[in-house]
Amino acid sequence: MTARRPLTALRSWRPFLGYAAGLVAGVAAWQLIGLNSASFVFVPLTTTLSSLGRLISGGTMPGALASSFSVYAAGEALAIVAGAAVGLLLARRPLLRTAFEPYLTALYAIPMVALIPFLLALVGLGFWPKVIVVWLFAFFPVEFSTQRGAQSISPELLDVARSYRTSERQTWRHVVIPYTLPYLMTGVRQALARGLVGMIAAEFFLSAGGLGSLLITQSEQFDTGGMLATTLVITLAGVILMAAGRAVERRFARWRVTS
């Protein structure tokens, strides 16, 4: 039995070893490709990290992050509130659903990037136009998921509520909203990812600060190290937001049957 001990220990370390091996391989590949490329195409990781250091200490990166994520936060917050409200209303009010669902379906089908130049012409540059773009990217997944969830409440549970003479307001509070919350959170997880795409895209077009316009400036100046550093920061933000989204989703699905 003692012979099995090291094996068990190895097994519990295995996922970690896997990550470490992957990381080492990635870093090595980056470094090697960088060393063997022309510097306006690709630079080694070490060069990228020193660029990142300069961007941070010079205040460029903190400024761009603050600018980007204030747009992102505002857009996401408004999209989640509006998506949840519209989704619940359309699910519970068949008349509204018949009237407005075709518009939503059509809008959801449009690639959002195609709307950005149009928005630019319509509302110009600045903070709010970019918030609108993030909103457009994030609203639909929330609305869609919320509505689909709220429409799938079992008729038996609604009968239970009715048999206890639950008022419409109390039915929302005790049945419709708690039931829909996990679906809403699935929409939120998707919206957090799509909103990030919207944020960068908006800053490409409506450039006035932020990570997207920093990327454009760096590419115009052939600052490959800076570009890679900025991309690294955006990737990191994406990874963190995905993890946060999944955590939130899990937290609200606690009561669901899990095995």
Binding site: D159, V160, S163, Y164, Q170, H174, P178, W255, R256, T258
Partner: protein
């Protein structure tokens, strides 16, 4: 309008229910006394659930009336507890939250709710599971919670739709007897829907036999076994007589020459 104390509490009069062109229930009439348990038995699809939904005010009859305490039922009335076939517990609420539901939506003060929920959880034997979520409980325990929720509003009418049908045999036997004990302690006009003949006889003071297509009352049988009843009720001669009669009626259909005669009243014990 006041009612004499022993007048039927639930009156079902010539109830007909149509879904589109299909008649599901046709001219169903019977009544239930204030302390009486009436079993409704019939094959699957004969309209038992539909009938129960009419009594609970969850759907309106196409013809005829249901009245409770002299009031015609058009929407879920006050004081009617419903126990659902698939328990109908809210999966996002704990056992306590589910049992408290009827009181909470009525606006009962919190302290009163807490005390009452504690009593009911003890009554159905769920102590220690107050904070569990339904999916963490066995089917039997879920239905105990469903029962406690229905009893929490101190119902004068209790309607149950095959409440033990999805439980294993042993749990079902146990819950049947516990249900009888509870209804002895705090009686209610009870409509007990089942597709099991044995269960109908064990639980009911009277039995309404439904036949299908469209669902109509084929017979109303007096069980004639006194309450309180225990396990020994199922071993009595009377139990066998009533059960055999029902089997003949339900399984062989009406008009069979070999069928035993309808058990008359007073042949009990």
């Amino acid at each position: 309008m006041t009612q004499p104390a022993d007048a039927p509490l639930i009156r079902v009069e010539k109830v007909t229910k149509k879904y589109g062109p299909r008649t599901v229930l046709s001219g169903v009439s019977f009544d239930v006394g204030p302390h009486e348990i009436v079993s409704v038995v019939g094959p699957s699809g004969c309209g038992k659930t539909t009938l129960l939904r009419c009594v609970a005010g969850l759907t309106e009859p196409s013809g005829g009336t249901v009245s409770i305490g002299g009031q015609t039922v058009t929407k879920p009335p006050e004081g009617v507890g419903v126990v659902f076939q698939h328990f109908g517990l809210f999966p996002w609420k704990t056992v306590s939250g589910n049992v408290a539901y009827g009181l909470t939506v009525r606006g009962t003060p919190r302290a009163a709710v807490t005390a009452r929920v504690r009593d009911l959880i003890a009554m159905v034997g769920l102590e220690g599971f107050e904070r569990s979520y339904p999916h963490q409980l066995s089917g039997g325990m879920q239905q105990r919670a469903g029962l406690a929720r229905a009893l929490a509003i101190e119902p004068r009418v209790l309607v149950m739709d095959e409440p033990f049908a999805s439980l294993d045999a042993q749990t079902r036997d146990l819950l049947q007897l516990e249900m009888l004990r509870i209804l002895d302690q705090r009686p209610a006009a009870t409509l007990f829907v089942t597709h099991s003949i044995d269960e109908a006889v064990l639980m009911g003071d009277r039995i309404v036999v439904l036949t299908g297509h469209p669902g109509s009352v084929h017979d109303v049988v007096d069980v004639g076994i006194p309450r309180p009843r225990g396990r020994e009720a199922a071993d009595s001669d009377r139990f066998r007589i009533v059960r055999d009669y029902l089997w003949t009626v339900v399984m062989k259909g009406q008009g069979n020459d070999n069928s035993p005669g309808k058990p008359s009243e007073g042949t009990a014990d």
